[in-house]
């Protein structure tokens, strides 16, 4: 018996020693290599090249079909176009119809995707800002450029949020515990943050474009948005001042309507470069009709009769930027600023998605000047745009126009110049207080509370601090 126990103890000892030997390597056994497709945050901001990739990620993401900025049916351009009097939806999708019928519910999926993609982009911008602030190894030049871009993007997103949803949370960091209980800020506060970010962006961004073409924001891009923001805030002087900076810059000039949206357009201040190898712009892919739009998803939108009827005859913009499809019985008009529907792989991209262009700056300055009673100067700016359209100059038609007449002319001009781009019409109607007057007669379901989209339902239930829903929902 004793022998047995001794033997037993011996064997147990051996086993325990073996186990401990194995266990010495326990800790290191659990160190697994990170997957090749992932990169640790600190490494991203350890070199100029990878830091630039983080910015590239933002632009690629902005072109994701679900993003507010993609140019697809889910983008601001289309959805806000449907809400205003630009586009008509023939979609079988009730959530798209709801935008057209101004009967968006808080559950609406596309409304939610607008909100979520805007905040996702803000997060990415904030992550870049933080990464750069911590990093010691990114060169000063690159750091300033990238940080300027990220600040600009953050301002850009907040601008769309405040215009679509009214009071919104302002997100300036990446801490989720803070961001998940954040409350809505009054429009004024949102705007002052936008202005602050844009001023910083102007400081940081270089005057020239960081890479070839105009597909990464430069200082002029921040200026262009700042001019727009001042205009929306009725700060006419500043709006004039900022837009003048660009209008005085000889790198920018108006192009003929037929080539204004091409890759090499001199009118461009900032364009997004398509990333899908099969596509030119998503605007082209989604808006060019090749069949009846009735139930023709995804190509189920057409320009409204009101918009088509508002062009003056001979307007080269109508000739170049509006096209039609007919099935023999009916004819539908569609935006044709982007002319390429699909791109065979390997062929070069012909058009970039235009985000900021010079014509808007002319119209900003025109409106700013007229509002400061600088009528003739305003008229010159307006006529710059009209002359490109090859229609009669306003100074010829009505040289002694009153301030009111001029403002009305600018209003009409903005409509035909900027249609189907980035929700300009929807935002203009709202800021001029004309949404009800204009839309009530043409939209059956209109009520004045429709000027703000609802805060998505899930968002309110996930963050009770968001408080009340927008009125009317």
């Amino acid at each position: 018996m004793r022998n047995v126990i001794n033997k037993l103890i011996m064997y147990l000892r051996i086993f325990i020693v073996l186990l401990f030997l194995l266990c010495a390597s326990c800790e290191s056994f659990l160190d697994v290599d990170l997957s090749e497709t992932e990169i640790i945050n600190d490494e991203v901001f350890s070199s100029d090249v990878t830091a630039a990739s983080a910015i590239s990620g933002i632009y690629s993401d902005m072109l994701n079909a679900q993003a507010f900025s993609s140019g697809s049916n889910q983008s601001v351009g289309v959805l806000a176009g449907l809400s205003s009097d630009e586009l008509k939806s023939y979609s079988a999708n009730t959530d798209f119809q709801a935008f057209y019928q101004n009967s968006i519910l808080p559950e609406n999926f596309w409304n939610q995707s607008l909100w979520s993609s805007l905040y996702k982009t803000i997060y990415e911008a904030n992550a870049v800002i933080q990464g750069l602030d911590k990093s010691l190894s990114v060169s000063t030049e690159v750091r300033n450029q990238l940080k300027g871009e990220a600040l600009f993007i953050r301002a850009f997103c907040h601008f769309y949020l405040v215009n679509l949803f009214g009071d919104v949370p302002v997100v300036l960091g990446t801490d989720y515990s803070e961001n998940s209980t954040i409350s809505r800020k009054a429009e004024d506060i949102v705007y002052s943050q936008i202005i602050e970010d844009l001023l910083h962006a102007q400081e940081n961004l270089g005057d020239s474009y960081a890479t070839s073409d105009r597909v990464r924001p430069n200082r002029s891009t921040a200026t262009a948005l700042l001019a727009r923001v001042y205009l929306y805030r009725k700060n006419w002087e500043k709006a004039e001042e900022e837009s003048s900076k660009i209008l005085n810059d000889t790198r920018y000039r108006l192009e003929e309507a037929g080539v204004a949206f091409k890759t090499s357009s001199m009118e461009a201040i900032w364009q997004l470069m398509p990333v899908n190898p099969n596509l030119n712009t998503q605007e082209g892919f989604y808006s060019i009709l090749t069949a009846s739009p009735v139930n023709g998803d995804p190509r189920s939108n057409a320009l409204s009769a009101e918009l088509v009827g508002s062009f003056e005859s001979g307007d080269t913009r109508q000739i170049n930027w509006v096209n039609s499809y007919t099935d023999g019985e009916d004819t539908w008009y569609y935006p044709y600023k982007y002319k390429v529907i699909l791109k065979p792989e390997g062929t070069p991209v012909e058009e970039y998605s235009m985000v900021f262009r010079l014509a808007e700056q002319y119209l900003i300055r025109a409106e700013a000047r007229v509002n400061q009673n600088k009528l003739s100067e305003g008229m010159v700016d307006l006529d710059s745009v009209r002359s490109r359209a090859q229609i009669a100059l306003f100074s010829d038609i009505n040289p002694g126009a009153s301030q009111g007449e001029l403002l009305l002319a600018i209003e009409r001009e903005r409509r035909v110049e900027l249609f189907s781009e980035w929700g300009h019409r929807w935002f203009d109607l709202k800021r001029w207080g004309k949404a009800g007057v204009v839309l009530f007669p043409v939209k059956s379901g209109w009520s004045d509370t429709d000027v703000l989209y609802p805060i998505p339902r899930v968002e309110r239930s996930r963050n009770p601090s968001l408080g009340d829903q927008n009125p009317g929902y």
Partner: protein, 1099 residues
């Protein structure tokens, strides 16, 4: 040349020996107390003979003692085919046993043993102390029983019978021998004056209960277990025509809730053991409620395989689909802390142990063959509107809205399509018959040391959809057992390999089409046999069937177990495993699936990809087992080293201009990589279990495990888990036996302990960027992968269980009643976040507590037991109760709208539907806070969509050679009713919607028909209201089988060992008030009603 029979030398030796024997008797006490090694009945040797000669035996003894043997070779040479079961016995007993029936005898002289014919065995002279008892053990049918345990009561000395049922043991006249064998009633026999005892062991009715239960790292029995383990064996699994073996468990186990997600073969099954522990309940968050699957000791990643493109399979593919149900020996499910704690961090949701069939120890070469064939159909259709009522609904909707068809939507059903047509789309699209064919073959055989089993199977199953779709699977298995001749080394190897091929179509719309397509929608085909597109006014539902989808799974599970008995009771063991799952998928979207009117603009596309999962495991273990006077100690200890790698890739090819080239990726206009994931998971652990039982009455087990997982950050990698289990078999107490004699067996057991859960993705604690698919200006793009939380740690589930087991009336009725309470805390969840954070969730530990408590009752009764007729019944019943116990600040969290303290996790918060407003014709809801608008604050109706209780009743009848088995499954539950598409829109509806508001004095249950947006809000509120809650309770005849065992006489004529014919049905009928297709799978393709017939033959 033979030696002379009486050799003088020998005679001399014998004389001396006689003197010696006299001396020995005199000094016997002394010798015994000295522990002298020379006394033949004290000197123990371990011997084994397998058809070997006696001289081999002598050599074995000589090696272990200082004895030498003298014999005349001629005398012992005829005995060259002696078999002696392995055992440790006295030399005396060994020799008696070996010489049994030979006429040989022996004498001892000093350290020599002289063998001769007719010699007087020394035994006669030592009668006073202990005598050698020999005998045989047979069963009640007269067959010899090998391996029967024989113990001298009150001691540890004992032996086992050999292959012919023979035994030899040393015992005194006053000793009592206890004969025991699993499945037989133990027998006690007083030795008395006898030297030969022949025993007949009677089989125990309780035998079935007394099967060995696999508990993972160790084995136990129902009687001895201190934990909660349930078992289903081959008999109940094998013949069910199921593709997923987990489906075979449905309704058979208390506390184990198995729900099919749909009726498509190969899709993952939902299995939940004792309720939802984790708030991670599937979808993007991952599922934290899946049990651990172990196949033959090898853990299998239990997460469903996500398909590269969306298909009919919903949650994903079943990772166990390639395992052949008929190759399963048993499935054990471990539920409580005592049973699961040895799996530590992975045991929180229970453990499913799957054991495949092994080679039997010693048996003649056997060939088993089985085949079945059958059909399956959707057992129930919804009652939908016919054309007349449908058009009435549509026209009324327009009248209500004051508009005309075509003003918003094209309204083809009213304007373009033939309004006199009627098609039952359910019949057309899901009304087909699925054919099932299954064939299995297994060969097994071997000898005492090595045995094998080779099996193969084929399973084919069609689908109920029109077209050439279906599932087939081929699998093979090899199992080898080896036992060294000294019985110290044991090795097993099992390899299971399966290939399944699932041909489906990639269209999620088909079920939707079957239920909502207008009944007057056009013909499917034109008169010339082409797909009919009716002038581009509809999407032909058959076009979806042209989008083919194919997945091929190759699944290898290999396991080897090596063990070595170092000394008696001490075994070293190592468990080795390897798995390799490779799923290759391809989806094809041809141009011909599109309306040819648009073919100029449509191109074909393809999606290809796959999932790869590989893992290995090494588990060195040590086991110790020893009987003490009245007690039994067993210890298991070991460690685990596991590594798993996962890879998933997929890419899409777009812009094919011809269907002929579809799939040839070079012909694609562009190729995009959509998924490129790689991850590695490592896991290591130390575990141990110490069990002690005293007198077979008191049991105590302690289990502990220290786990490390690579899924946690460096500070939180390791955690400890443990459990204590105790049991008291009080029926073995004298006072119970005296006072409650009707209790044949009774036991109380309890356990308490902790288990964990690391079912989260890999690398979650890193703050990382992912490489995106697209480049911007040729610069690769990087995206933040997720929100970053480096500090999350293990979640812990504390489990407590109390159970009573008893059997009465000659063990004919036995029951087990369990009460458990599991509390999960430190919940590791994908904490839902508002979009303002940039993401929708972050992985973090939540200070919430979820409690699962419940009752489980299992009763088994042998209602009638006679030679000709047998009837037994098993009932299992589960009453689970799930509750969110704690959740600090829930009202400010994103979960405020989902959960409520004190309520189950499976609740939904709904508006209270008041009915239809008389004036407006719209639904009305209770505005709980009176603020005039309906939002989350008004959702105060909490409805539990979980199962309130569920049960299974199995009955088995046997009359002569006929056997009838059936299983009835019952459940009480609320479910979400079929969510009616907006009544009035262009979509078919359940017939009941005709009970609607028409005028202010004809209100009805449904709001007024409507096709514009004027009723949108109330419609959406309705599907979030109590109006959508349905009674999903059901009673289902889940399986029934009727079989006939062909009598032996016929079998013998056909040279068969046995043969059985059977007919089997699955989902035979269901009684339910549920309004949709099936109360378990909702509006997905329901599990089919199947009818199969088959035969099983053994040669």
């Amino acid at each position: 040349m033979p030696l002379p029979r009486e050799c003088p030398q020998l005679r001399f030796v014998m004389k001396v020996s006689l003197v010696y024997i006299c001396l020995m008797i005199a000094t016997l006490q002394l010798l015994a107390s000295n522990g002298s090694g020379q006394n033949l009945d004290q000197l123990k040797v371990t011997t084994e003979l397998d058809h070997e000669s006696l001289s081999n035996l002598f050599q074995q003894i000589q090696r272990q003692t200082s004895l030498t043997f003298a014999f005349i070779p001629n005398e012992i040479s005829p005995y060259n085919n002696i078999t002696l079961a392995k055992g440790t016995r006295s030399v005396k007993a060994t020799l008696e046993l070996a010489f049994y029936g030979t006429g040989l005898g022996y004498e001892q002289v000093n350290s020599s043993v002289i063998i001769s014919v007719g010699a007087t065995s020394a035994s006669a002279s030592v009668e006073a102390s202990a005598s050698v008892i020999q005998g045989t053990v047979k069963d009640n049918e007269g067959a010899a029983m090998p391996g029967v345990n024989i113990v001298v009561k009150g001691t540890t000395s004992g032996t086992t019978t050999d292959g012919d049922g023979r035994f030899v043991i040393d015992a005194r006249a006053s000793d009592i021998l206890v004969f025991s064998f699993i499945g037989y009633k133990p027998q006690e026999v007083e030795v008395g004056a006898r030297s030969s005892i022949d025993i007949v062991l009677e089989s125990d009715i309780e035998a079935l209960k007394e099967v060995v239960v696999n508990a993972g790292y160790y084995q136990t029995t129902d009687k001895m277990k201190t934990g909660s383990i349930v078992r289903v064996d081959a008999k109940d699994i094998g013949t069910q025509p199921v593709t997923s073996l987990l489906m075979a468990l449905q309704g058979r186990m208390a506390g184990v809730d198995v729900t099919p997600q749909n009726g498509v073969p190969g899709s993952a099954v939902k299995i939940q053991i004792r309720g939802l522990n984790s708030l991670r309940m599937g979808g993007d968050d991952g599922n934290g409620n899946i049990p651990l699957y172990i196949v033959d000791g090898v853990p299998i990643d239990s997460r469903p395989l996500t398909p590269v493109s969306s298909t009919l399979v919903g949650e994903g593919f079943d990772p166990l689909s390639t395992i052949n149900p008929s190759n399963i020996e048993s499935i054990e499910v471990l539920k409580d802390a005592d049973a699961t704690a040895i799996y530590g961090s992975r045991g929180a949701n229970g453990v499913v142990l799957i054991t495949t069939k092994r080679a039997a120890k010693v048996e003649k070469t056997n060939l088993e063959f089985g085949v079945y064939k059958g059909v399956g159909r959707v057992y129930r259709r919804m009652e939908l509107l016919d054309t007349k009522h449908y058009l009435e609904m549509r026209r009324e909707a327009f009248a209500n809205d004051g508009s005309l068809p075509g003003s918003i939507f094209p309204d083809n059903d009213l304007l373009q399509w033939d309004t006199t047509r009627y098609t039952d789309w359910q019949k057309k699209l899901i009304g087909g018959t699925a054919n099932i064919l299954d064939a299995q073959l297994a060969i097994s055989g071997g000898g005492a040391t090595t045995s094998f089993r080779i099996s193969g199977g084929l399973h084919k199953e069609g689908l109920v959809f029109p077209g050439d779709f279906g599932y087939h699977k081929l699998n093979g298995g090899v199992s080898l057992n080896h036992l060294s001749s000294n019985q110290k080394f044991k090795g097993t190897l099992s390899i299971n390999y399966g290939i399944d091929n699932n041909k489906l179509f990639d269209d999620t719309e088909v079920m939707n089409s079957a239920l909502t397509l207008a009944p007057n929608a056009p013909e499917l085909y034109t008169p010339t046999g082409e797909l009919n597109w009716e002038n581009s006014t509809w999407i032909n539902p058959l076009s979806g069937f042209r989008k083919t989808y194919n997945v091929v799974n190759n699944n290898l599970i290999a396991n080897s177990n090596l063990s070595y008995d170092v000394i008696k009771g001490l075994t070293f063991k190592v468990n080795l495993g390897y798995t390799n799952l490779d799923a290759t998928e391809s989806a094809r979207y041809p141009i011909s699936a599109n309306d040819p009117a648009f073919s100029a603009y449509s191109t074909g596309s393809t999606a290809d990809g796959g999932n790869k999962r590989q893992s290995w495991i090494v588990e060195p273990q040590i086991m110790f087992h020893r009987n003490f006077n009245n007690g039994e100690l067993s210890i298991v200890g070991g460690s685990t080293w596991q590594s798993s790698t996962y890879q998933s890739q997929s890419y899409i090819g777009e812009g094919y201009t011809s269907d002929v080239l579809l799939g040839n990726i070079k012909a694609a206009n562009s190729v995009t990589f959509v998924r490129n994931e790689k991850s590695e998971y490592r896991y290591t652990a130390l575990f141990g279990r110490i069990g002690y039982n005293l007198d077979g009455k008191y049991f105590i087990n302690f289990t502990g495990r220290r786990d490390g997982s690579s899924r946690f950050g460096p500070n939180n990698r390791f955690a400890n888990f443990g459990a204590l289990g105790v049991a008291w078999v009080f029926s073995n107490e004298n006072f119970i036996q005296d006072n409650l004699p009707f209790l044949n067996f009774s036991k109380i057991r309890a356990s308490y302990g902790t288990t964990g859960n690391d079912q989260i993705g890999d690398y979650k604690f890193y703050n990382t960027y992912l490489l995106g698919n697209n480049k911007y200006q040729n610069i690769p793009s990087l995206y933040p992968k997720s929100l970053y939380n480096p500090n999350f740690a293990w979640e812990v589930t504390k489990k407590f269980e109390l159970a009573l087991e008893f059997s009465v009336i000659d063990n004919r009725i036995s029951a087990e009643i369990d009460w458990y309470r599991n509390t999960s805390s430190n919940q590791l969840i994908q904490y839902t976040l508002p979009f303002t954070t940039g993401f929708q969730s972050v992985l973090s530990n939540l200070n919430a507590k979820v409690q699962n408590a419940g009752w489980e009752i299992a009763v088994r009764g042998d209602n009638i037991v006679s030679d000709r007729f047998k009837w037994n019944t098993s009932i299992n019943f589960s009453l689970p109760q799930n509750k969110l116990v704690e959740f600090p600040n829930i009202e400010k969290s994103p979960y405020a709208a989902l959960y409520s303290i004190g309520e189950p996790l499976s609740i939904v918060k709904l508006y209270k539907l008041l009915g239809v407003n008389k004036e407006t014709g719209l639904y009305e809801f209770q505005d709980e806070n009176g603020d005039g608008s309906m939002d989350d604050q008004d959702k105060l109706q909490y409805v539990n969509y979980g199962k309130v209780w569920y049960a299974g009743i199995t009955n088995s009848f046997r009359y002569k050679s006929f056997e009838l088995n059936f299983l009835i499954q019952l459940a009480k539950q609320n479910v979400q009713n079929y969510s009616y598409p907006w009544p009035g829109m262009q979509a078919n509806q359940p017939a009941e919607v005709m009970d609607r508001w028409q005028t202010d004095n004809n209100i009805g249950r449904f709001q007024r028909f409507n096709q514009d947006f004027s009723s949108a809000s109330t419609y959406y509120q309705f599907i979030n209201s109590t109006g959508i809650v349905g009674n999903g309770s059901f009673i289902r005849l889940k399986t029934a089988s009727f079989s006939y065992q062909i009598p032996e006489v016929f079998c013998a004529k056909l040279k068969l060992q046995s043969a059985r014919l059977y007919i089997q049905g699955q989902n035979i009928f269901t009684i339910t008030k549920y309004k949709g297709l099936d109360p378990e799978s909702g509006s997905a393709l329901p599990p089919l009603r199947m009818l199969t017939t088959g035969i099983q033959v053994k040669i």
